[in-house]
Symmetry: C2
Subunit: 159 residues, 2 copies
DNA sequence: TATATTAGTTTGTATCACGTACTACGTCAA
DNA sequence: TTGACGTAGTACGTGATACAAACTAATATA
């Protein structure tokens, strides 16, 4: 039995599963490779990506990254040791809370990183026609939003 | 300027990048969540996925997983400690080499895992029509094969 | 045979993620 | 006001992951 249009059977599901899982590994490997060029981990990249348009506290970061706050505390420690972020005080509002802020160096890296990722992704999809690319992107976006996922690398609209 | 058909500009690239990166995080999170139900790591799952239709040595595994062989050695150690895999001798052909083989328990887990992943992915794409799903899967597959990636979770056809 | 290569392990280092326990600050109610 | 509770963040211990470098043992090759 070959795969023809409209089959919602087991074979089609397996194809879809394989394709999406493999695609996700491919994207992650791409991100990891670029992160490696900058000698930071993928998690560090997610961190500075989030910080591009926010100045969250540890708990808020833990929520966005879906990590325990103790994990984030250490994560910020290491990013700080590398000069990517700083802990800034909340201006008198709350004596416990801090804000995690990008340094100039961290901001530069975040920007460069985003560019390199965009290039790498563009290279991956170069065989698709622009129309196919657009459909593909919009369906991917639809799947993501339908899942109610919190965004991670490129936090979208600021509003 | 809004995004209309056929724009190959910066905005469209950013959309595509975001969508694919976020989709990859979504899929990975899905895999990680299921792996967590079985109290194994995502890497362990990749390992037993590969072993479903092969009996590779450490170096071959390192190649497929894109890890250092020393990493794989430890990975297999831990999987072995959990009764998922075993180190079997190559039958006299090469005194140095071993084969990494699934145990019955490991095989059961690999099968169950694959089923649960398929269900979860199907749930993610439930809003797309079958035709859209098919197109989406085939384009994803096209991207993966064009990249020359080695597969990781569901090693494809044995033929 | 002597040398080089290969398969795999071991050791040391760094990161990551978790849970628990702890400190310090805030909030709320009696 | 003060005492109980909740919250933000850190510290510590554990286990997994990944790497590089050094090592052993077996195999290839000159």
């Amino acid at each position: 039995m070959t795969e023809h249009a409209g089959t919602t059977n087991r074979a089609a599901t397996a194809n879809l599963t394989d394709a999406l899982v493999e695609l996700s590994f491919l994207i992650q490997a791409t991100l990891a490779r670029i992160a490696n060029d900058y000698e930071v981990s993928l998690t560090q990249v997610r961190l500075i990506g989030i910080l591009r348009d926010r100045e969250p506290g540890i708990v808020e970061l833990a929520d966005v990254l879906n990590l325990d706050k103790s994990s984030v505390s250490g994560l910020v420690d290491r990013a700080q040791r590398r000069g990517l972020v700083e802990r800034a005080s909340t201006k008198g509002t709350d004596g416990r809370a801090i804000r995690v802020v990008l340094t100039a160096h961290g901001r530069t890296m975040a920007t460069q990183f985003a560019e390199r990722v965009a290039e790498a992704i563009a290279e991956l999809v170069k065989d698709l026609t622009p129309a196919q690319r657009e459909r593909f992107a919009s369906q991917a976006a639809r799947i993501v939003t339908a899942s109610g996922m919190s965004r991670s690398l490129e936090p979208p609209q600021t509003r």
